[in-house]
């Protein structure tokens, strides 16, 4: 060893043999190996199986949700959607990004605008709640919720180095977008016994709201059953499944709601697809606390210099809010506005299999669905799929949830059903 001449190199190297020195490299390797193993194994071990809870019927569970009178709650909600729409901001399930990105939250959703059929012309406040909902339609996002009785609620969308907050405090609604440092202010309508809310916005995406809307729409085309128990955010919960009945062509397999076993609060809401992949839409608490949230969370004073848009000005710019239906499926932003395109709109079938049929507005479609040139047709073939049926031929543009078909005579069929479902509806109609 060359360094033994360096006196005072006190035995750290001098007295050990090469074999022993090589052993030292085992330390970093072991540290890395232990970490990798624990990252892989600990979650697997921590999943200790579903909790044992007393039996409950579906009716009792639905009643439990309805009777739930949780007034105070704060927590973190993770929402994700994988609708298979190419290019939706957040990249949830487009071909390029595979099965949804991890942790890529908080993109500024400039790409959202083209999907808003009802987007008005002109300038808008970045703190506009309705636009925020659209932005949340793709990818994964983290929301934080705090509720203190009917008078005070807040919901914020956690973004990278920014946050969008919607604060309701006794008749006043504030929205604050920290990224652009702009705020939106509205007085909640007075005298309404209903819930006071400004417009469709991100608040529709908490598990509780989603479950309420869904259960309100349950009718005899729907089967409701209890599917065992689960654990959400460290709390024991029952799993309620709301599934289409006799709807072979529905793209929705079931809607699953995890209901807190103790107080009936919905803790997770998942729209599961018939194709067996990741949930189409999922909203779940990762952290929930039923204590009283801090009072400071519900007060908002716009910082000096912050641009504040008042609701009146905003409403004038916005016009009637774009069509947002009530049900989980129909609630997809932008779908309702299709009805405003003109032409005859009619609903074929019922319940989960219903398909919207939009007859071609006179003069809009010329001959057939082709674009005329072979290149354009080739491009169209890549985006869509040709189908044939008794009705003739058409092209289907598909996502995981909603499929749309344009027939050669210009009629559009649209619904949360598979391609076969659309063809069947077209054959019937």
């Amino acid at each position: 060893m060359g360094n033994t001449g360096n006196t005072g190199d006190t035995g750290d190297t001098g007295k050990s043999r090469p074999g022993k020195k090589a052993m030292r490299y085992a330390v970093p390797v072991a540290v890395a190996a232990v970490t990798v193993a624990s990252v892989g194994l600990v979650p697997a071990l921590a999943e200790s199986g579903d909790p044992e809870l007393p039996e409950i019927t579906a009716e009792e569970l639905v009643a439990k949700i309805a009777a739930s009178d949780v007034q105070r709650l704060s927590g973190t909600v993770e929402i994700s959607s994988d609708l298979g729409i190419p290019g939706l901001p957040g990249g949830g399930g487009g071909g390029l990004f595979g099965g949804g990105p991890h942790g890529e939250r908080g993109e500024r959703g400039e790409g959202a605008a083209p999907y808003d059929g009802a987007a008005p012309e002109g300038e808008q406040s970045p703190a506009d709640p309705a636009d925020k909902l659209l932005e949340l339609a793709g990818g994964e996002h983290t929301l934080r919720v705090a509720i203190d009785g009917p008078e005070r609620q807040r919901l914020s969308v956690v973004e990278e180095t920014a946050e969008y907050s919607l604060i309701h405090n006794a008749g006043e609604v504030w929205a604050y977008d920290s990224a652009s440092d702009t705020a939106y202010h509205a007085e909640a309508p007075e005298g309404g016994a209903e819930r006071e809310r400004p417009a469709p916005g991100p608040q529709d995406l908490t598990p509780g709201e989603a479950a309420e809307q869904l259960l309100g729409a349950v009718d005899d085309t729907t089967a409701v059953r209890v599917e065992g128990t689960t654990t959400v955010a460290g709390r024991d919960a029952y799993e309620l499944a709301v599934a289409p009945k006799d709807a072979a062509h529905s793209t929705v397999e079931a809607v699953r709601i995890a209901v807190d076993a103790e107080n009936g609060t919905p803790l997770r809401f998942a729209l599961d697809a018939g194709d067996g992949g990741a949930p189409l839409v999922e909203a779940a608490y990762t952290e929930v606390d039923f204590g009283k949230p801090a009072a400071e969370l519900f007060t908002f004073t716009p910082p000096k210099g912050t641009e504040v848009t008042e609701a009146d000005e905003w409403d004038a710019a916005e016009g009637p809010a774009g069509g947002h239906g009530a049900g989980g499926v129909n609630g997809l932003p932008g779908l309702g506005s299709l009805a405003e395109l003109g032409g005859d709109v009619e609903v074929v079938g019922e319940g989960w299999s219903s398909v919207v049929k939009i007859a071609a507005p006179p003069g809009v479609v010329g001959e057939g669905a082709g674009l005329g040139s072979p290149e354009a047709d080739g491009f169209l073939d890549k985006l869509t799929e040709r189908v044939e049926g008794d009705f003739g031929t058409g092209r289907v543009f598909g996502t995981r949830l909603v499929n749309a078909m344009l027939t050669d005579d210009g009629t559009v069929y649209l619904g949360a059903v598979t391609k076969d479902g659309l063809v069947e509806a077209a054959n019937a109609g």
Binding site: M1, G2, N3, N6, T7, G8, D9, T10, G11, D12, T13, K15, S16, K20, K21, A22, R24, Y25, V27, P28, V31, A32, T35, T76, G91, L96, F97, G98, P101, H102, G103, P126, R144, S156, V158, E160, T161, A162, E163, S165, I167, Y176, D177, S178, A179, S180, D181, T182, A294, E296, L297, T299, F300, T301, P302, P303, K304, G305, T306, E307
Partner: protein, 303 residues
Amino acid sequence: MSPAEPATAASEGAATGPRSAPPSAARWWWTFGLLRSELGVTLRRWRTLALLGILAALPVLIGIAVKVETGDGGGSGGGEGPAFIHQVTNNGLFLVFTALAATLPFFLPMTVGVVAGDSVAGEAAAGTLRYLLVAPAGRSRLLLAKFASVVVFCLLATLVVAASALLVGVALFPVGDVTLLSGVTVSFGEGLLRALAIALAVTVSLLGLAALGLFVSTLTGSGIAAMSATVGLLITVQILAVIPQLDALHPYLFPYHWLSFADLLRAPVLWDDVLANAGLQALYVAVFGSAAWARFTSRDIAA
């Protein structure tokens, strides 16, 4: 720590015997002395001072740019630009956060890469490493002192950016109660405390790279090679981090949680990512720190 440890203690005891100090006390004295001398050497370098000077100048540039841009009454440009830049005009304290967010992806880690990469290899290149090893402190503790001085540099670099930004912010913009990202207003004092916490979080963010740089530094006898390799690694990792196809790899890259310091500006504070960042940096320190130790204690020091 190692099988050679008893031998170390014994030989050290013999070495310090005439001074009649207990071996353990002597060991600590040496470690402290080493750390002090290491720090002195690091911080007295012109290169280090120049790096800190650049870091101090950046917030001035950002501050003046924001002032000029908004001074003529120009409106806000949507959500563009570095994080927090839109809040700067309302509250000078936000310049601290903007400056840290702007320097964290590249400038801060680059200076850390230079200092960490140079720490061992620079001494080897200058031929002073063997004289350092003459000190009866042992290589393990020498390495520890080197790492500690790099950590101190990380803290110092972050504080220089923060302090410079704070001064510029106070000088150019109004200050007062701070509106957090969540829309909750806190006092300026709490805002300052949060700024300090953020500076610490940013320091922690740099530790993984510091350990990586130290390891690279033990591999080569050329300071320039170690510095450029470390900075090159930083750039490579930053490029990998934006390639969406490498999604699965991203959570293991050291910059993955770097922007989590912004979570300290929420109400209530969202700790998940901050802690995940600390864990990831600790992992890098453990793996590359021990790799540096394995290399440094077993290699031949010829220069």
